[in-house]
Subunit: 348 residues, 2 copies
DNA sequence: CTGAAAGCGCTTACAG
DNA sequence: CTGAAAGCGCTTACAG
């Protein structure tokens, strides 16, 4: 394992000069730099990141906390983040966060509190003030993507507007009995993604002077997954009362589950039941699902660009399409309504 | 940011003793240990992993290379690995590997070659000898889970046997026109997962003295995804020739795509078409898919246990259900045939 | 059982 | 533009 001393000796310079030549910090004569680089290449020298971190305080490593990796949105985001980080020369340390509890505390108090990450990207999770503070107290940037982190920059689509848009699409088609399959916890956490989507739905319905369809409650909550949507939709559609003619699902995966439930119940789609989701899941096209698309891979890339900027990394390889807006201001990420065969005019 | 010197001073001992008390290495009087621990807790001391790594050579960090995070199998494995690693006090550095090319070389030659990981778990990827050597030359353990790494321990189900089992299930039901939707690359890479499953299928057919159904080629290759299975199945089932009465899909996701294609073509299932997959995907039950289950989350756990053993970490919190077999020997991981409504007796 | 000292492999003022 | 020296925060022989 060659060390920088070996490179220096081979190039006939001091360790200090070798370091300057290799890191690009400080003045080095071109000719010297070349000699050092050649020497390093010859013996396959790679600097020890631990030693460098110890003195610079920088680890070239970003921590990503994420509640799932196996849900479409999260997987896409993670891939986008990983790709960008790698091309910026950073490592990605993954923390798969449970909703809360000791596991989660351990991640923040032990893993993240140590000096091993330069910044944290929190994906789709609502952080507590304390959790944010653990990171910022060590003056490390933290950014929330598709979730919330009090006092930290936030990157997200306008969930409320997306939900309103999806609902208005159904309204425009003449539907009046519209149900919402909301994400679990949407009632309790108003500022969460599920909560905002629910609010957007209710608002659009309110503007149209309509009451949500669907039995006991205004909305039915479902796990944000296909089985979750299936179970909830079975309950909704199997109820002998006035069946809704349209469903706005809080996510495409919930929507797929609802489609499956309708199939099972023999409800013809879209003639008797229109369904719209949010996400732009990779299966949406195949299943003909109308949805409000978002672009999680790109979102991951934007999050990394933003973090790099906060770390003072030159504009270098990464452009930041987020522009020059202040870190506390929030510009919603892109979405787009894509109409497919799962929605049609209300039956008369 | 308190350092170990602060703890030592507060506890009235030397840094050496403080270190011994906190790491648990070396003798320390019980009474002294308690004082040190109290001092550390009081000022919220957390050891710098960089400084510790520099002297011990251990980073408490494992690199995971994985080609996808957004496919069921890979996502589950990753979650299993992450959970186990975290509870062993290790970090997980994620490398999302493209199939090959400069990106992949960079991961091995730069990221993995540095001293920042203690071991590597390669998931579902076929490593070259050179790639394995980059790691082992630095005497770091490397282990392949559901892929291959020449010269390294391998953890995998018996893909060949699983495929034969699935095929035999169809044969037993009286099917004779059975097609295989193989994974892309199964023809070229015989030792890959796709290649082994294809071989298992062909072998079972051969024993039954049957030729594979399905047109031009013996098998049709599909991307290992739902859209991939859909496209391939459309091609297979839409062909005007003798339509197969059963399909063995190389993965559940391919199987789902095939089911969708059959639906679209109006082929009644399972009466005129039986479908079996491999995986035990979380949606399999919902779609009534017969499949040979495997348990990727558990596989990830086993991989971590194995790696910990190779790193000489005490049996501590993690048991290794893999038992005491030698590292080069290969004991197949668990699988189980689960019969659901997607398979039935061949139409007569 | 404990402490003083050396050293892990870098980078960074400080001189020159 | 370059080098000698100090130091980042730990752990580990080596004495005692």
């Amino acid at each position: 394992m060659p060390a920088i001393g070996d490179v220096a000796r081979l190039a006939g310079v001091s360790k200090a000069t070798a370091s300057r030549a290799l890191t690009g910090r400080g003045y080095v004569a071109d000719e010297t730099r070349r000699r050092v680089e050649a020497a390093a290449a010859r013996i396959g020298y790679i600097a020890s990141p631990d030693a460098a971190s110890l003195v610079t305080g920088r680890t070239k490593n970003v921590g990503v906390v994420i509640p799932f990796v196996n849900r479409w949105f999260f997987g896409e985001v993670l891939e986008g983040i990983e790709r960008s980080l790698l091309s910026a020369g950073y490592d990605l340390t993954l923390y798969n966060l449970a909703q809360s509890g000791p596991h989660r505390d351990r991640v923040f108090d032990f893993f993240l509190a140590r000096k091993r990450v330069d910044a944290v990207i929190a994906v789709g999770v609502d952080l507590t003030e304390r959790e944010v503070e653990v990171i910022t107290r060590r003056s490390k940037p933290i950014i929330a993507l598709g979730g919330t982190a009090p006092g930290a920059p936030r990157l997200a689509i306008d969930d409320r507007a997306a939900a309103s848009l999806a609902t208005e699409h159904l309204l425009k088609l003449g539907h009046v009995r519209i149900a919402h399959l909301a994400g679990a916890g949407s009632g309790a956490a108003a500022r969460s993604v599920q909560g905002l989507r629910r609010a957007g739905f209710l608002q659009a319905m309110d503007v149209a002077e309509l009451a949500p369809a669907g039995g006991i409650d205004d909305v039915i909550e479902a796990e944000m997954s296909l089985p979750g949507g299936y179970a909830a939709a079975l309950q909704l559609l199997g109820h002998p009362g006035d069946r809704p003619t349209a469903i706005f699902a809080a996510s495409d995966e919930i929507a797929f589950g609802a489609m499956r439930a309708a199939e099972r119940l023999g409800i013809p789609m879209p003639t008797e039941l229109s369904i719209v989701g949010i996400d732009g899941h990779e299966y949406a096209e195949l299943f003909g699902l109308t949805t409000v698309e978002q672009y999680p891979g790109e979102q991951g890339r934007i999050a990394v660009a933003r973090v790099m900027r906060m770390l003072g990394e030159g504009p270098s390889a990464l452009e930041d399409p987020g522009g020059a807006e202040s870190d506390v201001e929030w510009t919603p990420l892109a979405t787009r309504l894509v109409v497919r065969s799962s929605t049609t005019a209300a039956p008369r």
